[in-house]
């Protein structure tokens, strides 16, 4: 299992690096799909098959398709040198800094954690974690779940209005 973790890690890091370093936009988009697959592999190692399937279905199967379609429709050729923009630089540095901080926080808070509440590992293995995720989404976390749905709905309607203009 540990070997698999390292294999997925290497693939994820390599493909993420290739996304930002290859010149061709379509190749770059294909590398990001590879990266999604490596992340799905992590979820399976964490025994979260539902998240893994969703990762492939939503990210690799839907979002990346839209990216590829946009690249094809716009017929983007090779990028002509990197565009150097001061704002991009600032935003990039802040984003990287925040991510680094998050990683440090996670490592700091890491440690063996057991599932809390009525669900012990034995029950999770018996019922399957997909059912448990569903149950939690529609009971305890129903409010954030609905808020997220409405946000997505607003985005869909917004996209439609912009497309109509």
């Amino acid at each position: 299992m540990e070997a698999l973790f390292y294999i997925f890690s290497i693939i994820a890091i390599f493909s993420a690096l290739m996304v930002i370093s290859v010149k061709n936009p379509l190749t770059s988009a294909l590398y990001i799909i590879l990266c999604f697959f490596a992340l799905a592999g992590f979820y399976i190692l964490l025994n979260m098959q539902f998240l893994a399937a969703m990762q492939i279905l939503v990210y690799a199967g839907a979002i990346a398709v839209i990216i590829v379609l946009a690249i094809m429709l716009l017929n983007l050729a090779k990028t002509k040198g990197a565009i150097k923009d001061f704002h991009q630089l600032v935003i990039g540095i802040i984003a990287v800094g925040l991510l680094f901080l998050e990683v440090i926080l996670y490592i700091d808070a890491a440690g063996e954690k057991k599932p809390t509440g009525i669900y012990t590992n034995a029950i999770i293995n018996k019922v399957g974690n997909t059912q448990i995720i569903g149950e939690f989404l529609f009971t305890k976390y129903v409010f954030p779940f609905e808020v997220a749905s409405i946000l997505l709905l607003v985005a869909v309607i917004g996209a439609y209005i912009f497309a109509k203009k």
Partner: protein, 328 residues
């Protein structure tokens, strides 16, 4: 452990062989069905009633010159046909094709692996089939290929929504995502009885997903030569065909599992029941192709977004209401 490994390997090899052979012989079946519909005989020369025709075709394709266009992106051009075939062959890993059997006292399920998210696994893989088309069309660096690829992508995105939503009703009734569980919950009544609209939507949307007539705008011969695989020759071209016909078998198997009771059936052995049902669904797909003319592009989009999508959403709501009313 070793027994499990051997049986799993044997199952994988059998499925691999049967799927590839079925894909090859579907080309013959399609030509024969087309011939019957058009009052012809179809292939008759190679073997008895053309039975060796797929093998002759395979050998011919194998020895054809393998051409890569000069301006093509070589790596992606070679990658694309592979990307088409892999999801098709992998999907069968979760489809149960028979009742569990007993070998030397061990119970062997006739299914490569029973993951508890079987349906999601299938949907995830079928959403990847699109990449073979996109990469192939783009890497060929040809106008016809690119146009075909763009059309196909737009079409597949439109129909995938209804495809996924049409299955939700089945998941709601079965209350499980595992395909083995779904088959066993159909022991008394097939889900096609509870979900006739879901079945029809899946049938139509999967035909569109496979780019078959009447939804084959991506490779409309009259206008785009052959669409996204215009530039392909030799075995790479054959790979596209294996992918296409393998997809027919896989989709027929999914329909059988979700709506037609899977391998359940009286008297005959379960594997035989599964094969019979799959064969009948395949015949429906072939029948579609030689009955309907190709849709116009706006008709295609209208059908996907304005008819199938609202219908599949309504199907979910109605299913939910009835389940609540019946107190299940």
């Amino acid at each position: 452990m070793i027994f499990w490994l051997i049986t799993t390997l044997v199952k994988i090899l059998i499925i691999f062989g049967v799927l590839l052979l079925a894909a090859a012989y579907l080309t013959l079946l399609e030509r024969k069905v087309a011939a019957r519909i058009q009052n012809r005989l179809g292939p008759m020369e190679a073997g008895f009633h053309g039975l060796l025709q797929p093998i002759a075709d395979g050998i011919k394709l194998f020895f054809k010159e393998d051409i890569v266009p000069a301006d093509a992106n070589k790596i992606l051009f070679i990658l694309a046909p592979i990307v088409v075939v892999i999801p098709v062959l992998t999907t069968f890993a979760v489809i149960p094709f028979g009742a569990p059997i007993k070998i030397f006292g061990h119970i062997v399920p006739l299914q490569i692996t029973n993951v508890n998210i079987g349906i999601l696994f299938i949907l995830a893989l079928s959403s990847l089939g699109i990449y073979g088309v996109v990469i192939g069309g783009w890497a060929s660096n040809s106008k016809y290929s690119l146009l075909g690829a763009i059309r196909t992508v737009a079409q597949m995105i439109s129909y995938e929504l209804s495809l996924v939503l049409s299955i939700i009703g089945v998941i709601m009734i079965a209350g499980n995502l595992s395909l083995a569980q779904i088959v066993s919950s159909q022991a008394h009544m097939w889900f096609i009885v509870y979900q006739p609209i879901g079945f029809l939507i899946y049938l139509i949307a999967s035909t569109a997903e496979m780019n078959r007539v009447p939804f084959d705008l991506g490779e409309a011969e009259g206008e785009l030569v052959a669409g996204f695989h215009t530039e392909y020759s030799s075995m790479k071209f054959a790979f596209y065909f294996i992918g296409e016909y393998g997809q027919i078998v896989v989709n027929a198997a999914i329909i059988t599992t979700l709506f037609l009771g899977g391998w359940e059936g009286p008297f005959l052995p379960s594997v035989l029941w599964f094969v019979i049902k799959v064969f009948l669904v395949i015949l429906i797909y072939l029948w579609f192709r030689w009955t309907y003319p190709r849709l116009r592009y706006d008709e295609l989009m209208d059908l996907g977004w304005k008819i199938l999508l609202p219908l599949s959403l309504a199907n979910i709501v109605v299913t939910g209401f009835i389940m609540v009313l019946l107190g299940k």
